[in-house]
Symmetry: C3
Subunit: 159 residues, 3 copies
């Protein structure tokens, strides 16, 4: 292969690897942000009109609405009790400037005698490349409760 072609191929392949790592990093920022009261930083993981569709709770749209979730009385009770919003490394599929990630998240909560799994969720994130890096367009989140909705969410990650 000609040198130019090898460079082109390397640049494209490296971009794909960087995209996966950038999305892993973006989603790994979520817990530290929302468990430390950094509500704006948590919301800023989404695009400006991004959507967080939280099963069984509500659908928040845009930075203000998403940050309001983390500023709510309910969320603040969690973080002052001691919460770990764990996003497990999901299965990521990048297609040009958009991406999909499918996987689990858990909220571990402190009780008087240790910690327990307060919530286990199935998630499908759709993401987009922006001038500032990857951002979440929508996070569709459903509790792992055996429902068709939760199964359908996960099925996106099995194809």
């Amino acid at each position: 292969m000609a040198i130019e072609d090898r460079l082109d191929a390397l640049e494209a392949r490296l971009q794909a690897a960087e995209d996966q790592l950038a999305i892993i990093r973006l989603l790994s920022t979520y817990g530290p942000a929302v468990d430390s009261g950094s509500s704006r930083e948590g919301a800023a993981l989404w695009t400006e009109d991004g959507v967080y569709d939280v099963g069984g709770m509500r659908r928040a749209e845009g930075h203000d609405a998403i940050a309001a979730l983390y500023d709510s009385q309910g969320h603040r009770e969690l973080i002052f009790r001691g919460s770990a919003h764990l996003t497990a490394t999901p299965r990521i599929t990048v297609t040009g400037d958009t991406a999909e990630a499918v996987g689990y998240s858990f909220v571990m909560l402190r009780s008087h005698k240790g910690w327990y799994v307060w919530r286990a969720s199935a998630n499908r994130w759709t993401l987009t490349r922006t001038p500032d890096g990857w951002r979440i367009v929508e996070r569709y989140n459903r509790p792992v409760d055996g429902s068709e909705d939760s199964h359908a969410t996960l099925r996106h990650g099995a194809k």
Copy 2:
């Protein structure tokens, strides 16, 4: 270094990074597949004659036998109750066209009052590069129960 040599070195290093990411992605597909009833997709993570050696349960060999685990009555009870088969990002070592991954997996299960850790396992995956990407040759899985067998499994990841 000459341009050709730099290109050769870049291609080899990038391949190594891509291999790690591909194996992380393969193993991250497991949970979404088996928790959503996508039994064939779950089995297809293995080579055609791949082995899933599930400690305390059985040893399944080949796609049909592995898919049968996920189609079993016991497994279906888990997924309709609400299960999260979490594969934590393992410690991956790639050597040419084979690889080893060592790490933990957990099954989080819904109960009437939340979720709990139904199973915690030590795993050693051996993997191979195929024309269709990385596949599992063997997944050796043992419950985290203090046994020498579980310790020996993890010790592979400590070297």
Copy 3:
């Protein structure tokens, strides 16, 4: 761009991706090491004078002191009961030859009727590049207990 410049850029970008993967791998070695009684291998993830500041327990400095934590009676009781020291993939920021990682770790412990979350922690690792690869300079670890100390630890990962 000239060929030399493209090669330079590729080498720098690839190095950054490799660094992230190397740190993920280093931290993924922790659990398999300390849960299998491989105390020296666990301590060797730190630099020779590295620090493990374990909230509510002690501050261990250097390989001998860190290995002593894993050889202690208390730790050995955990691993013979069945423990999984899970390091979730953290949020990693590499700056030249140093790096920071912020995220969660969990100890899952076997009881007579399954497993439970024995400890959930917030962590901030500072790391350095050595001739032998990345090593931990300090691991600052605090239980997820709603304290300002735990929140401040996580806040490093939200910026």
